[in-house]
């Protein structure tokens, strides 16, 4: 019935993900509206606007043909890597660490772009790797270098959260690409050994402090533990149904740090309670489930790895953020996808969504190449 009314081009779009996303973004917008003290500015309006712009961009991305995407994978990686070097260089000249590039009206954070790009380049790498080599060093070393370069640059900024996100995306691709399991076990064991060493020698003081506070937030309730404590108070005081729209005292009286970015979930949970929290979790569940479906139904290895990696990246964002605000992870500056106010995060996540939509389109396009 509807098919006759709705144009085919519209009907073809993956509404299974777009609709939940629109709901989530609108919900985020109301939270931001409340966080701004009942005002569309400065957060809610730009949040909606960005989503609209980036959604159009995602549609654009979804039109890209597979060959083109595979073609630009390495150049795109090189460009973003170059931008990261540029940021580092500018920071050194400016006498201080810097994460942004000021490009006229846009403030670009290259480390954000690296998250989808690392997935892209690794998907390309493994899809072109002869299947027989998957168990050899040649499957690991180039990929390791591809991951290590941007990670190192991001760590220099220093931005541990983003570096971990890049590593996570990379490792998930390596895992799904079929690298021998024992390597991951060995890698896990090595990480278990290296973690304490890194903790004591590589981490900055403030990062170490954050780990301590995560382990015992009440030890320093007015210092670094403040964030976690106040976030838990906000979520906990919301109760089952919340305090009501616009009635969150924790966010409105500034007890909650960053109520519109990193801790937007706490802001939401205070006013909407557990019901709101479950809604957000459910929508992320839908989106991620769709992402895995896209990956599993992909017809070639590149598309498969690409889709899975994008899904993992979105997952990493959401999971780390939610664990942080609920006191299950240390405070790392990672915003919640589609809800937190912030252009870079929205851009990254919409690139991921756009890429998934693209793979979805390839899957449904008849006559595409089969596996192999």
């Amino acid at each position: 019935m509807s098919r006759s009314v709705i144009p085919a081009a519209v009907a073809r779009q993956p509404w299974r993900v777009i609709l939940p996303l629109v709901v989530l973004v609108c919900f985020g917008t109301t939270v931001l509206y409340s966080a701004a003290g009942g005002s569309m500015t400065p957060f809610a309006q730009s949040h909606l606007l960005r989503f609209a712009i980036f959604l159009v961009m995602a549609f654009g991305i979804s039109r890209a043909p597979s060959d083109f995407v595979r073609l630009v994978a390495y150049p795109a990686y090189a460009v973003v890597l170059l931008l990261l070097v540029l940021v580092e260089a500018l920071g050194a000249i400016g006498g201080g660490s810097q994460r942004w590039l000021n490009l006229g009206p846009i403030v670009l954070q290259p480390s954000e772009l690296m998250k989808p790009v690392i997935v892209l380049v690794l998907a390309q790498f493994y899809s072109t790797l002869p299947t027989g080599m998957i168990g050899s060093w040649r499957a690991v070393v180039p990929a390791g270098v591809l991951i290590a370069l941007p990670m190192g640059l991001v760590l220099l900024q220093p931005d541990l959260g983003t570096a971990l996100a890049i590593a996570f995306g990379g490792v998930v691709i390596m895992f799904l690409a079929g690298l021998p399991l024992r390597w991951f076990l060995a890698g896990g064991a090595a990480a278990a050994v290296a973690a304490p060493l890194a903790f004591f020698f590589a981490l900055k003081d403030y990062q170490r402090q954050r780990v301590f506070t995560f382990l015992d937030p009440e030890s320093d309730p007015l210092g670094t533990g403040y964030h976690i404590t106040q976030s838990k108070i906000a979520i906990g005081s919301g109760g089952f149904a919340g305090k009501g729209f616009g009635n969150g005292s924790q966010s409105h009286l500034n007890y909650l740090p960053e109520p519109h970015t990193d801790f937007v979930f706490a802001t939401m949970a205070e006013e909407w309670g557990m019901l709101g929290g479950l809604l957000v979790l459910a929508i992320f569940g839908l989106v991620l489930h769709w992402g895995w479906n896209v990956a599993r139904t992909s017809r070639d290895r590149f598309a498969q790895l690409l889709a899975a990696g994008m899904t993992a990246t979105i997952f990493f964002y959401a999971a780390i953020n939610l664990m942080m605000v609920m006191g299950l992870a240390p405070v790392v500056g990672i915003p919640l996808p589609f809800m937190s106010h912030g252009g870079s995060s929205m851009l990254t996540n919409m690139i991921c969504i756009g890429t998934l939509m693209m793979v979805d389109r390839w899957n449904r396009t008849p006559g595409a190449r089969r596996l192999g």
Partner: protein, 694 residues
């Protein structure tokens, strides 16, 4: 396995691996999602009440509102201490980021003088961090607002509307009422109530303010406000008003107290007036004093320097803690002792200017002698020889009990912090204290109020009131509804009238205080002069010379002489003789019976002295601030230190005399001053009447 893997890898196998591993990752992600949902439920439902409480305690700030202190009223209901609504600024050092810089900034905003800023910094150093420190009170709206709008940049600064204690008559009531100030660390330790560290809250530090602290305190109010994380108040939620402390009505007559204090003028001394019907203390003036209004924000360096460098000891309440040899003011008491012991008042002796006691001659103040002297003449001419003679006959055992009965050496049941009660010597006392036998010269000394004998002005006033009325008047300071009915002293026959008449002669007859006559036809004041030697004559002549060597001037009085309504005592330290004391008593009594006339006299005198006491104090402060204030920075001591220093001085004063006087053989006595000695004090000009008194 690895071998097999590398050997048999095919595209299909990789696809298989991908599918399996995707399921693993997907499941892990779903598991984490479930974990997050459970965690969410745990925090927001299971621990909801805990976090709700924490959110409330975040949001709501409870501030205590310092209670308004109860007023202190005089006997007619006029305030001696009240409260003034004002704007004030306090700081809490613990909450400040950079105390020094903030204080400087406050100094700018409030236009504080540099001395005040430096005092503030001293207090900052001494303070415990949690205790609020007053920056300024009594601010106008503009300056208050200037601080209020900058609050976000200045954490720990607390501007508020509040009440400041106000003493309308300032230094006139300083010693009596005391003053208030922020609670010290010691006081907080003793009574760790949160109200004590609430900015703007003051506790009594001295005098009535301290002794009636619990009555005057009141119950703090509370204000629940919604605050932001940075402490900015968003809105009021609920306010419970404070309950003002109870008012306290004293027996003091406010105008009289003020008049007496001002009439003391440039002298260092005290005036006590007692109501002869009830024993009510109408006036307990002690000067020079401090202005309790300026003490409530702590004692500044300039103030401290001014007060501590003054040899007139403005920090000591001389009414209760000034001890003086009573001199000849004890003679009516001694006479009463003689009368009660059965001595016929007409029995006389001949005064030739001295009397040999043992192997030494004790002189009368009048070296030429008084001739034939009976008891009345002994009193109004203050003849020493009369008292030497009969005291020898009747003995100390007659005199000492009478002294005690009339209030000498007694501590009275008064709500004051401390009173020095002096000494009424007798043989047992001397043996106990010095391990030496009582000598006849000790009796001789005691009869003229010298030697070991010491009294404070309050005791002298009580003695005067009991002699005047024959009733056992107990001084009281707090007015309650039922006036006391003093019992009789049970003096025999017309002894009271005899003393009244003899003391009337002192002022209105051929006595030693001719200039003390009241300017009324129908009201006559009776009195007795006294001059107490401070140092031996070979150190300094008591009438002139260095101020601290001059004789004390004393006067006890009551009026009207035949139907006494008021009795009292005036003591002028180093006044050069009783001539410095009784004109003050005369003016105070004049004021009591005709306030207008009394004030006229006072205004004339104040013109001579260069303004009212308040004006003179302000000028003195200004000159100190100019000279010493900034150049010689001196940390303002804490109240405890001040109290200690005053105490030391008091003890020294109390000690000095009995020791020296006991060690040295009693010197020949002088008594009420010849009129021509008065100019030495530089205060009053002798009236012709005095010449007649000689």
């Amino acid at each position: 396995m690895g071998r097999r893997f590398t050997q048999h890898v095919t595209m299909a196998r990789l696809q298989d691996t991908f599918d399996r591993r995707a399921v693993v990752i997907g499941s892990a992600q779903a598991g984490l999602g479930v974990l997050l949902a459970v965690r969410m439920g745990y925090i927001s439902v299971a621990e909801n009440s805990k976090y709700q409480m924490e959110a409330e305690s975040n949001r709501v700030n409870l501030t205590l509102i310092p209670p308004r202190r109860g007023w202190i009223l005089d006997r007619n209901g006029a305030p001696l201490a009240s409260n003034k609504a004002d704007f004030r600024v306090d700081i809490i050092p613990d909450r400040m980021k950079d105390p020094q810089a903030t204080v400087d900034r406050l100094g700018e905003l409030l236009a504080l003088p540099e001395v005040a800023i430096r005092d503030l910094k001293d207090r900052l150093e001494q303070s415990h961090g949690f205790q609020p420190i007053e920056v300024a009170s009594g601010l106008d709206w503009d300056r208050f607002a200037a601080v209020s709008v900058r609050l976000p940049d200045m954490p720990g600064v607390i501007p508020q509307r509040g009440f400041t204690r106000f003493y309308p008559t300032g230094q006139s009531v300083g010693h009596l009422i005391g003053y208030v100030g922020a609670a010290s660390a010691e006081e907080y330790e003793k009574d760790p109530s949160p109200i004590l560290i609430t900015p703007g809250y003051k506790v009594g530090k001295d005098g009535i303010e301290k002794t009636f602290e619990q009555t005057l305190r009141g119950i703090p109010g509370a204000r629940r406000v919604e605050v932001t994380a940075s402490g900015r108040i968003v809105r009021d939620l609920e306010t419970r008003e404070d309950t003002q402390g109870q008012a306290l009505q004293l027996t003091i007559d406010g105008p009289l107290q003020d008049y007496a204090a001002r009439r003391l003028g440039l002298e260092s001394g005290s005036v006590v007036v007692i109501d002869c019907a009830t024993g009510d203390l109408l006036c307990m003036a002690s000067m020079p004093s401090f202005d309790p209004n300026s003490f409530s924000d702590g004692i500044g360096r300039v103030e401290w320097k001014m007060l501590s460098s003054d040899d007139h000891v403005p920090l000591r309440n001389k009414v209760l803690k000034g001890l003086y040899p009573p001199g000849s003011t004890v003679k009516p008491m001694v006479a009463m002792a003689f009368l009660e012991a059965g001595l016929d008042p007409e029995e006389s002796t001949v005064c030739t200017g001295g009397l040999r006691v043992g192997n030494r001659v004790f002189h009368c103040w009048n070296r030429r002698g008084h001739g034939q002297v009976n008891m009345a003449k002994g009193i109004y001419q203050s003849c020493d020889v009369y008292f030497y003679h009969f005291a020898q006959k009747l003995g100390m055992d007659v005199i000492a009990p009478m002294a005690h009965r009339l209030g000498m050496g007694q501590e009275f049941d008064l709500p004051v912090l401390s009173q020095f009660y002096g000494t009424v010597p007798d043989p047992a006392w001397k043996l106990k204290k010095y391990g030496r036998e009582w000598q006849s010269y000790d009796t001789v000394n005691a009869t003229i109020g010298q030697g070991f004998m010491l009294a404070n002005p309050l005791q002298l006033a009580v003695m005067a009131s009991r002699l005047a009325t024959g009733k056992k008047l107990m001084p009281r300071l707090v007015l309650d509804k039922t006036p006391p009915t003093p019992e009789s002293m049970n003096f025999h026959g017309d002894h009271v009238q005899f003393i009244q008449n003899a003391m009337n002669e002192v002022v209105n007859g051929a006595g030693t205080a001719g200039r003390g006559r009241l300017p009324f036809e129908d009201i006559k004041m009776a009195g007795k002069t006294g001059t107490a030697q401070v140092v031996s004559l070979n150190v300094s002549h008591g009438k002139g010379g260095p101020w601290k060597y001059r004789d004390h001037g004393l006067f006890i009085f009551f009026a009207p002489f035949d139907k006494p309504r008021y009795a009292g005592a005036v003591v002028i330290e180093h006044g050069g003789g009783s001539g410095a004391a009784y004109p003050i008593a005369r003016d105070v009594m004049t004021f009591m019976f005709d306030p207008k006339l009394g004030l006229e006299k006072l205004h004339a005198l104040e013109q001579e002295w260069g303004g009212t006491a308040q004006q003179r104090l302000a000028r003195k402060y200004a000159s100190f601030a100019e000279e010493a204030g900034l150049e010689t920075p001196k940390p303002a001591p804490t109240e405890a230190v001040i109290a200690e220093r005053v105490e030391e001085a008091d003890v020294a004063a109390a000690r000095a005399r009995p020791d020296t006087d006991a060690a040295v053989a009693p010197p020949p006595e002088t008594d009420s001053p010849p009129a021509n000695a008065s100019p030495a004090s530089g205060v009053v000009t002798p009236a012709p009447a005095d010449a007649g008194a000689q």
